[in-house]
Point group: D2
Chain length 182, copies 4
């Protein structure tokens, strides 16, 4: 009988894969900070690391990491069959399965995530740029897009949760006022 894989194993594997491929959570958090600090002056890097962590606990993201890194590594080891090997190895301009998988992982975080993903995918910053230009030293055709997706999702999470906090703060203030406290 087939045993299902426990989600803890999948989580552990996804975090390991990122680290093995040279991506630290703080690298992703820095992009998130860059995207969001203009809107939320009180934002700290720790908030961003926390948000990245929460995103990485989602099954859909973990599966995207496992599939994407697997294909990158197989291309690096030249173990894919042709013509896929050449397409992935050269990150061929019209190949879009990498963006499809990464975008699919961002759709769960709403429209802010999707447009932020598109922005990051075009204007590769930080670790995304490092991965994208590290060609020769390794294949990161899938990983750069997935990192952009994780960063976009973490940014969207923050935008939504800041809004929730503002509303709670406003309500508290209103309650004080209603009670004549000020």
């Amino acid at each position: 009988m087939v045993k299902t894989v426990h989600s803890k194993e999948v989580t552990k594997a996804a975090f390991n894969r990122l680290q093995e491929r040279g991506v630290n959570l703080s690298d992703i958090a820095e992009i998130v900070y860059e995207m969001q600090y203009a809107y939320h002056p009180a934002l700290t890097l720790a908030d961003c690391i926390d948000s990245v962590n929460k995103v990485l606990l989602k099954r859909e993201i973990q599966h995207a990491i496992l599939v994407g890194v697997e294909l990158d590594v197989l291309a690096e080891e030249r173990k894919l069959s042709e013509p896929l090997q050449s397409i992935v190895e050269t990150d061929e301009g019209l190949f879009g399965i990498d963006e499809t998988i990464a975008l699919g992982a961002s759709l769960g975080y709403g429209s802010i995530a999707v447009t932020t993903f598109g922005h990051l995918d075009k204007n590769k910053i930080g670790i995304i740029r490092d991965l994208d230009t590290k060609r020769g030293k390794g294949v990161h055709t899938f990983l750069d897009d997935i990192v952009a997706s994780v960063a976009a999702n973490a940014a969207s999470r923050l935008a939504h949760s800041f809004r929730d906090q503002e509303e709670i703060a406003e309500e508290d203030k209103k309650q004080f006022e209603d009670e004549g406290i000020k």
Copy 2:
């Protein structure tokens, strides 16, 4: 220097991959016929084969086939790393990268394609069911979804082109009438 892969090579590889994995164009065309004949009584299987063929000439679909079949075959040969190997081999219920890639390939054909894809993915019919239940004899975790996507796209193409034909027929009729011919 890196050479880009010519699109003819990609096309040829995509058609070959389907055939190697036991999927004939007429198998897909039958699903298309099943989905559309109620709306278009004049529809023939040849129309459906033609529509499937046109869908298979699209780069995005070809790339989806190459990536999906590659992962299926690697899983069959037990060459994926764990836990991805177990996840793909067992077509684990909450794994969704297969649907993400297939859905991504259907988004290009509009909302009829997307809802038809969802329908086919739930109510696996014809070759899709054969692939889905052929477990033990092979891994088709990705391929069954991609075939559903190709069938859905071909069905959507037909729905749109039948509508265009109706409008042209109506215009011709109107022109005859305007000219007093009837």
Copy 3:
């Protein structure tokens, strides 16, 4: 100065809109039950109502309800400009903005939600069928798709949470065994 709308107001409006248009949460919950009981024999209608409720607390879903019902009502009152008025009023076959909005609301719940949405959109059951065939008595071009999306999302939530519970149960059992308790 422009005041942002508090999320509580949006939530209240979304729930009211559904009720005004004749959609009760239990109607949606019944579809969810229908979709999921085969996989989870212990599932109750109360679980499904709870899941529908949680889905309806999401901003993206609420916004989809507000926009969709607004357009349905405006079409009913013949207040849209032509040719949009005729397109929405007749739920014209190739019009897909209703599916786009509903699908957009389902993308946040992963691939199970998307394929379930496609299935429900094709095989309209329960309240979705009632809305779809109630033509003449009212326009529900957008609402039937949005209800399908809410039901699909609630079904996907349940599938994921049942899996989480199974894993926790398994861990508890394992822990007992490890401690020699059994």
Copy 4:
């Protein structure tokens, strides 16, 4: 009996709506040029206008324009019901139905269209910026996103067709060489 709306009427209405709202095809073409000239030095503004035109002939895009502009105009005339009126009028930050409709219209043009759309939506340039900041003089909550989508689609079309042309040119050259002509 209900008459279906002829696609020519829909096409005409969509083009008119853009013009009425102050969007010229050349405004959109300029954005396309800006996005693509770096990759294709031979690109002309006329190529871009042609590509925008082709995109605007697609049903899904036309429907998105009709729905989006309708909602903008109704918000301008304060004819939407609350809280939707305030949300659309202020282009409320977490409202995403505008992006959902626009993104839905871009999904048909592949991953280049989607990432370009995200980029344009974040870094509003040209007419998109004009629409976005024209607040007070009018509501363009939906239209700025839809214009971004049309521009992104036209850019993606060009990227794909340039690639096709390169391949044809290469084949012609090869044929000359094969025939010993040079």
